[in-house]
């Protein structure tokens, strides 16, 4: 079955420290992975997708098919990064739906 796992419900780091939010997926085909973010009192929005291989707000994520992971990383955390982060999978044969992880709440301490 297709599944996305975010093992950490809560991650707390100090400002300036590196951040890594973990995401593992279960899918036998060729996946498309996304990170969505929800800042306080804002709507859920796309942060980045693996196919674009871009860095958004200093965040990067690399798809590791061998480890079936798509971890989100940032070398130096900023207070404005505090938010809820969701990893999502577009299983290309799943016909139009995204499979979501439960989310990780990231808190950046000053």
């Amino acid at each position: 079955a297709q599944r996305v796992t975010q093992p950490e419900k809560l991650l707390s780091v100090f400002k300036g420290a590196p951040v890594e939010l973990k995401c593992n997926y279960s899918y036998s085909g060729s996946p498309e992975l996304f990170w969505y973010v929800q800042y306080s009192r804002q709507r859920l929005q796309l942060l980045l997708r693996h196919i674009s291989r871009e860095s958004i707000k200093g965040f990067t994520a690399d798809l590791n098919k061998g480890e079936t992971s798509f971890h989100l990383k940032k070398p130096f955390a900023q207070e404005e990064d505090s938010a809820m982060y969701y990893c999502a999978l577009n299983a290309m044969d799943s016909n139009y739906q995204l499979i979501w992880g439960a989310g990780t709440k990231l808190i950046i301490k000053p």
């Binding site: 996304f34 929005q45 139009y96 995204l98």
Partner: protein
Amino acid sequence: DAGVTQSPTHLIKTRGQQVTLRCSPKSGHDTVSWYQQALGQGPQFIFQYYEEEERQRGNFPDRFSGHQFPNYSSELNVNALLLGDSALYLCASSSPWGRRFAGELFFGEGSRLTVL
């Protein structure tokens, strides 16, 4: 562009009642997906509408139904409400699936339903 708009933002119902939630997609989008998000959980896919038809459905009972209008707006209806239906209901719009931006969803702020 107002983006995706949903109404109402909050509502309270009692068990057994019926509820209708509404969504207007982002300008230029013709596909609407509905998600249920329980407290502390990620969004769960309910169904997606395209060209006024339900294109795919998640693992939700028939009590959950929907509709899409010619102007691409959509409604989510839930009949015979249960306590477990209490959640945030999110609407998301997108360009047609299969194109370059497949998987990029634009979300509304949600409708928070409380069933007593």
